[in-house]
């Protein structure tokens, strides 16, 4: 496709990462300035002061939300890149493996048990659900001490189907308005005002990314074949488990805070891989930065497309990501046949 250097140098890594980081920063500023309500940064910082409407809109409703979008998008992007390498499938999606389903079910159960929609108990319960899902899928996929990508995928998909059924069951049992809460989990929402939440999420996401980066070279070798990786010195079993757990924790945390937002973890790593190459030392940080930027823009669209009412952000990512995904699939099929 595009012409790129034959291999990754430290220079290229720093330059590309810096460029993407700038793009992310620009997107943060852009997304904060965009919204269904006009708000002036000038006024907010100037005469109005901290009690002006502009200040409240920009810094109490938009900025935390935009930052959460960056963190969640980054988590999903990096996790997606890692899982695509782990499963040796460039079109794998992080929500496929049941982690998101586990988080959503646990979160909804917490809501039904009486927790408030905005209580921190809900994301906490969701995160526990994600961990539970990770444990179940890891154990279920292990046979003879080996965890193959094939097994992970099969067990994950089945678990996902079960979680989806559980969510639908909850949907029918709850009242109409409780059902709206379930919608939050299925379609996602980045609405938040808490800088504390965003900070915690960011710290967590960066830690997860760092853990994945430790295995970046392993991911390169694994992506090129399991036996090849083995005889190149990779502890395949340990690397696989570590990557699966790290990526799943990233996904679990993201879903706990914002519901299941699809297509970010699928499209962003795939597209960046086409542009930048499959070397994970670059692809992981790039997918993190790119995922954050993409989700922020999707959320901006979600906030502004329909006038006063807002769309769930998962709808926008699906509408932009879906057709693109079909195009990629079509291209792959054509290449495979022709």
């Amino acid at each position: 496709m595009s012409v790129r250097a034959p291999y990754l140098t430290p220079g290229r890594l720093t330059a590309t990462t810096a460029a993407l980081a700038l793009l992310l920063l620009a997107s943060i500023v852009g997304a904060v300035l965009v919204g269904p309500v006009p708000a002036s940064l000038w006024r907010a910082l100037g005469q109005g002061g901290t009690s002006s409407a502009d200040y409240t809109i920009l810094f109490r409703t938009r900025l935390p939300r935009v930052l959460l979008g960056a963190v969640v998008g980054g988590s999903l992007g990096a996790a997606g890149a890692a899982l695509q390498a782990l499963l040796r499938n460039p079109l794998a999606c992080p929500h496929l493996l049941g982690i998101s389903g586990g988080a959503a079910v646990a979160g909804v159960l917490a809501l039904l048990a009486g927790a408030d929609a905005l209580s921190p108990l809900v994301p906490f319960a969701a995160f526990l659900g994600a961990i539970g899902a990770i444990v179940i899928v890891t154990l279920g996929a292990r046979a003879d001490g080996r965890t193959t990508p094939h097994a992970i995928l099969l067990v994950g998909v089945v678990f996902n189907a079960l979680a989806a059924a559980a969510l639908m069951l909850v949907n029918t049992l709850s009242s109409y308005l409780q059902a709206q809460g379930v919608l939050f989990w299925i379609m996602g929402s980045l609405s938040t005002q808490s800088y504390t939440l965003v900070a915690a999420a960011a710290a967590y996401a960066v830690a997860g990314l760092a853990w994945l980066l430790r295995h970046a070279l392993d991911l390169n070798l694994l992506a090129a074949g399991e036996e090849g990786a083995l005889q190149l010195g990779v502890d395949v079993e340990r690397a696989r488990r570590a990557v699966f757990v790290a990526a799943s924790l990233l996904v679990g945390a993201a879903v706990s805070m914002s519901g299941m937002i699809g297509f970010v973890g699928l499209i962003v790593p795939h597209l960046l891989r086409l542009l930048l190459g499959p070397d994970h030392r670059l692809l992981l940080p790039a997918s993190f930065l790119g995922g954050g930027a993409f989700l922020m823009w999707a959320d901006s669209l979600a906030r502004t497309m329909l006038g006063p009412a807002e769309l769930p952000v998962g709808v926008v990512t699906a509408l932009t990501g879906g057709p693109f995904f079909l195009y990629l699939l079509h291209r792959d099929l054509r290449r495979a046949l022709g």
Partner: protein
């Protein structure tokens, strides 16, 4: 098709064709919505109910009536097992298939609408006609309309206040325009700031709440008061928050298009114009500034 056959077997040997409803008023009535149950009781015909939906909780006598499934998911088999002469339903997101199934089996079905106040008058009349008590229907309409007028009068002359009615915290779901709840807000002396955001329960972004600057926020969402508090406290320059006019409205009277709408209207009016309602009626927890 299979399901309908199984249902017929369950229903036993009673005639699968429409019951004796075609001749004479129905004796066995099933209500598939809480608002309909309240209308039937308000018409004085509660004795005819042989099945109600799970969410029906008013008046207290309804507790002894068997349940036939939820408002969203009624059970066709259980409804048929009560051998109804008439089933009354409101279109809900989940019951379309059940209603169709009941119609196919030949049960007499009455579907009434509940979106606007006009729908409410029509539905009272339709239910009363179907039950054979049109006079009671007219009286009920008059009674409810009269009580609504009383509320309207009480706040007449007061300058309307900008109101946001919230029914969900996360996502933030509000009462939109062109529906019964919106009409009640207007009647109660308010201006719904989210009226242009679409007819059914729009999700609002927080910045919109800031921009629309409501003077009163009515928090009718489920969940604790603390959540609503936390949500709105972060928006200190919204007039409602500054003035301490975030009012909690417990229960779901607001959402029920039945004979108790005047109670909901009164609660709204007391929230929007507290100075006209001293002391505050029950069911309202105004927040101190």
């Amino acid at each position: 098709m299979r399901r309908a056959l199984a249902v017929l077997l369950l229903a036993g040997c009673s005639a699968s064709s429409p019951g004796p409803g075609s001749s004479g008023p129905p004796a066995r009535v099933v209500s598939l919505a809480p608002s309909i149950t309240e209308i039937v009781y308000a018409l004085g015909e509660g004795g005819r109910l042989v099945g109600v939906c799970a969410q029906c909780d008013h008046p207290p006598e309804v507790a002894r009536i068997p349940r036939v499934g939820g408002y969203l998911t009624p059970s066709v088999e259980v409804v048929l097992a009560t051998r109804p002469d008439l089933v009354i339903a409101v279109p809900s997101p989940g019951n379309r298939e059940a209603v169709r199934a009941l119609e196919r089996v030949g049960v007499r079905m009455l579907v009434v609408h509940d979106r606007t106040l006009a729908d409410l008058w029509t539905s009272i009349a339709q239910v009363a006609d179907a039950l054979g008590v049109p006079g009671a229907g007219e009286r009920l309409v008059g009674y409810v309309a009269g009580r609504l007028d009383a509320v309207r009068t009480r706040v007449a002359g007061l300058a309307p206040r900008r109101v946001l009615v919230v029914v969900g915290h996360n996502p933030l779901i509000a009462v939109g325009g062109d529906n019964l709840q919106d009409e009640l807000v207007t009647l109660a002396g308010g201006v719904n700031v989210a009226a242009d955001a679409g007819a059914t329960w729009p999700t609002l972004s927080l910045e919109l709440v800031v921009a629309r600057a409501p003077e009163v926020i009515v928090d009718a969402a489920m969940g604790s008061e603390a959540t609503g508090e936390a949500l709105f406290q972060a928006l200190p320059n919204v007039p409602a928050v500054r003035a301490g006019r975030v009012v909690r409205l417990a229960g779901d009277t607001l959402l029920r298009a039945g004979p108790r709408v005047p109670d909901a209207a009164a609660a709204l009016a007391a929230a929007i114009h507290p100075e006209a309602f001293q002391p505050a009626p029950t069911g309202i927890t105004p927040r101190a500034g």
